[in-house]
């Protein structure tokens, strides 16, 4: 093929090569322009000489296959794909912001910045996992934060698409990835688990927080295997001002057994956005290295001998959903509803063992009256609601790390619930709805708006109807007063 004859000014399928931006081992990156298209664009052209082993450009083949299938703000937009038989290339959006590599070199950075960045990256990861792709090379150099905000994961040369052949499968007894960030199972050649990306993101968070790599940068396979036996030094052993909750999050990501990590990137993003809800364990406070520990127990034994059965990415995400329930404690009827909602939630959690439950209640605030923080008895309404939420969840008998509680003030409850669900990548909303009535149909209810506008599944729970007149009265009460979410 003809990639070596590329020079500035040459036109390929309407794209004019402007400037060679980067030459790597595998491909050249050109800044290109196209008449009538003002978007900044990059063309990636692999090096492939006559008779070369095609596996030398397997990374390009994989990217060629996967990138066109990915959409959304968390990937570079794929704009054109060259015919492999003529000249293989990919034209993609040129992201002008630098990668996180520069930022990582300035580490340690402040914990607030770590979680701000970490939540963005975890959100991006959740998005590509939902699109059936495991990245397998999450590291600062492959992360760019868009000026508009979202994190972008670039370079899909080692990635795997759940619905396509894995072109690296035949080499799977070799560790494939970047040594410093690779998950233990990746070191062992396993390319089936999206939680490998969560481990790598944990290594990135560790680096940003401490300025050091959790397992160094080994070059030998034996060196890479160290992470199977040795705990990384706790971040607080390096920098004592690292908050325990951040250490808890990072070390949880870096668990050797994927079952002990966050089960989805969405759950990790949620933890990073709600540090106050992180359940601290012994490791949160750890300030010295535990030294040699049996990190692996039976896990390594079994995984090293028996190939892990391949679980589809979507199945993994489905098993560990974020379930959110929006509860209304504004009056007695609303409270009866919360019992029905709890039954539904219990049923859902029984099938999804790794689910995380987010309990939400909305304090409806008025823009006019600002003194509503205290009720008539002078008690703090916010705290009252929080207590009510916790009380409600007690019967579900969930372990602490499975559940979190949030009281949110909002003028528009439906919008607040929708925003919260979207921002926190909630997979399923469970909420109650009151009966229908003329007035309600006219005004529209919170639940019907959630059902029509939420981008995730919504389960609406109803109570048996007890008469139209009473319904109408309650509707009136709910819509014009209090903090109901219905």
């Amino acid at each position: 093929m003809e990639s070596h004859r590329l020079v500035a000014g040459r036109v390929i399928d309407g794209f004019t090569l402007e400037e060679l931006v980067h030459t790597g081992g595998m491909a050249a990156l050109w800044r290109v322009t196209k008449a009538g298209d003002t978007r900044p664009m990059l063309m990636k052209v692999p090096f492939l000489g006559e008779g070369d082993d095609p596996s030398a450009i397997v990374g390009f083949e994989i990217e060629h296959m996967i990138l066109p299938r990915l959409t959304g703000p968390h990937v570079p937009a794929c704009l054109a794909v060259g015919d492999f038989a003529v000249l293989p290339y990919l034209v993609m959006e040129h992201l002008s912001a630098p990668s996180l590599d520069a930022r990582a070199r300035l580490a340690p950075i402040a914990p607030e910045d770590v979680i701000w960045l970490g939540a963005k990256i975890a959100t991006a990861l959740q998005d590509i996992h939902r699109q059936h792709v495991i990245h397998f090379d999450v590291k600062p150099a492959n992360i760019i934060i868009r000026e508009e905000g979202p994190a972008v994961l670039i370079d899909y040369g080692l990635a795997r698409h759940d619905e396509l052949p894995d072109l690296l499968a035949e080499e799977s007894d070799l560790p494939i990835g970047t040594s410093a960030y690779m998950a233990p199972e990746q070191v062992l050649g396993n390319r089936t688990d999206p939680r490998s990306d969560i481990f790598s993101l944990g290594a990135v968070l560790y680096e940003l927080t401490t300025g050091q790599l959790p397992f160094g940068n080994p070059t030998s396979r034996a060196g890479m295997r160290q992470r199977l036996y040795h705990e990384p030094k706790p971040p607080r052993a390096l920098l004592e001002w690292v908050p325990p909750w951040l250490q808890e999050i990072i070390l949880k990501c870096l668990a050797v057994d994927p079952d002990y990590r966050y089960q989805t990137a969405g759950q990790l993003a949620h933890a990073l956005r709600h540090p106050d809800q992180v359940v601290l364990t012994e490791r949160a406070e750890r300030i010295k290295s535990p030294g040699f520990v049996k990190r692996v127990k039976s896990w390594w034994q079994s995984h090293n001998q028996v190939p892990t059965p391949s679980v589809r990415i979507m199945d993994r995400l489905d098993r560990a959903p974020i379930v959110m329930t929006a509860l209304d404690f504004s009056d007695e009827q609303a409270e009866a509803m919360t019992v029905a909602v709890r039954k539904m939630v219990a049923r859902l959690l029984a099938t999804d063992q790794q689910a995380r439950l987010v309990c939400l209640t909305i304090l409806k605030t008025s823009l006019v009256k600002l003194d509503e923080a205290l009720d008539q008895g002078g008690r703090n309404i916010y705290l009252k609601r929080l207590v009510a939420l916790k009380e409600w969840a007690r019967d579900l008998d969930l372990s602490e790390e499975m559940v979190s509680f949030h009281v949110i003030e909002a003028v528009d409850p439906a919008q607040a619930i929708l925003d919260y669900a979207k921002f926190n990548q909630v997979d399923h909303i469970v909420m109650g709805a009151r009966g229908h009535s003329t007035l309600r149909r006219y005004l529209g209810s919170v639940s019907s708006r959630i059902v029509s506008e939420a981008s995730c599944s919504v389960t609406v729970v109803r109570l048996p109807q007890s008469g139209e007149t009473r319904e109408a009265e309650n509707d009136h009460h709910v819509d014009f007063s209090g903090d109901a979410t219905d």
């Binding site: 082993d53 596996s55 083949e61 396509l164 052949p165 894995d166 072109l167 499968a169 035949e170």
Partner: protein
């Protein structure tokens, strides 16, 4: 060009009909029947006559081991297959039998090889049950793409010349892009007797321009086929397995 593949029809009229309809609806330019038109199922005459008509319209039709066994005998076959073939003998006239037993074993079309069982010895009917056999087959043909049937289990094997083969199970309705840098061996699933624990009939579509392969699955009226199998007093197992794809 879009090429529709049908393998291991096995005298299952209901399954073959829905696959042909599905292929018609999705559009294609050429049909390839990868052998085993008869055997196991209750409608050998209809299936053979349909295939003969398709060939008149330009389809390519290959011979499978069950087709060949009409002449060569059933020594290598299991009990159920043998009794079904004995029965099939009485359902077909010499015209159909001559047609089936004289079909070609393989066909080469540009970079593609079509064959019922494998490329190394098409008439010996060895099975491709994993990457090792797939690699053997791929190394013994200079065709870059091999399309075959025989195992009734849809698979896609791929390799470069310097590496061993790897395996992938294509998902129904999800196009798999085929890299021009690799060799592929594609086992098209079975129309009339799937064995991958999915009861729906399978057929495949390869697009030579987009260079992708899609495996489709179509549900069909298994009850009717099973009734016909029982009415013909064919082994009960041949009816039962259709429901479980095994």
């Amino acid at each position: 060009m879009r090429i529709a593949f049908f393998a291991d029809i096995h005298a299952n009229q209901e399954a073959f009909e829905v696959c042909l309809q599905d292929a018609q609806a999705r559009g294609h330019d050429h049909k390839v029947v990868l052998g085993d038109i008869i055997g196991y199922g209750p409608d050998p005459l209809w299936c053979t006559q349909t295939v003969m008509a398709l060939q008149q319209e330009g389809a390519l039709v290959l011979r499978g081991n069950h087709d060949a066994a009409l002449k060569e005998g059933t020594d290598q076959m299991n009990e159920a297959a043998r009794s079904a073939l004995d029965w099939t003998h009485h359902q077909l006239s010499d015209t159909e039998k001559n047609y089936l037993t004289s079909l070609p074993l393989q066909h080469r079309d540009e970079e593609r090889l079509y064959v019922h069982a494998n490329a190394w010895a098409p008439a010996l009917w060895d099975y491709i049950n994993g990457p090792r056999e797939a690699e053997r087959s791929m190394r013994l043909t200079d065709a870059r793409l091999t399309f075959c049937g025989h195992t009734h289990v849809p698979k896609l094997y791929f390799m470069t010349s310097q590496r061993p083969a790897a395996e992938f199970t294509p998902l129904a309705g999800k196009p798999v892009p085929l890299s021009p840098l690799r060799h592929y061996l594609i086992v098209v699933g079975s129309v009339g007797q799937p064995r991958d624990a999915v009861s729906a009939a399978a057929w495949g579509l390869y697009d030579t321009v987009k260079r992708d392969y899609v495996q489709y699955r179509v549900t069909y009226d298994i009850e009717t086929t099973a009734k016909k199998i029982r009415a013909a007093h064919l082994p009960e197992r041949l009816a039962k397995r259709l429901f479980v794809g095994g």
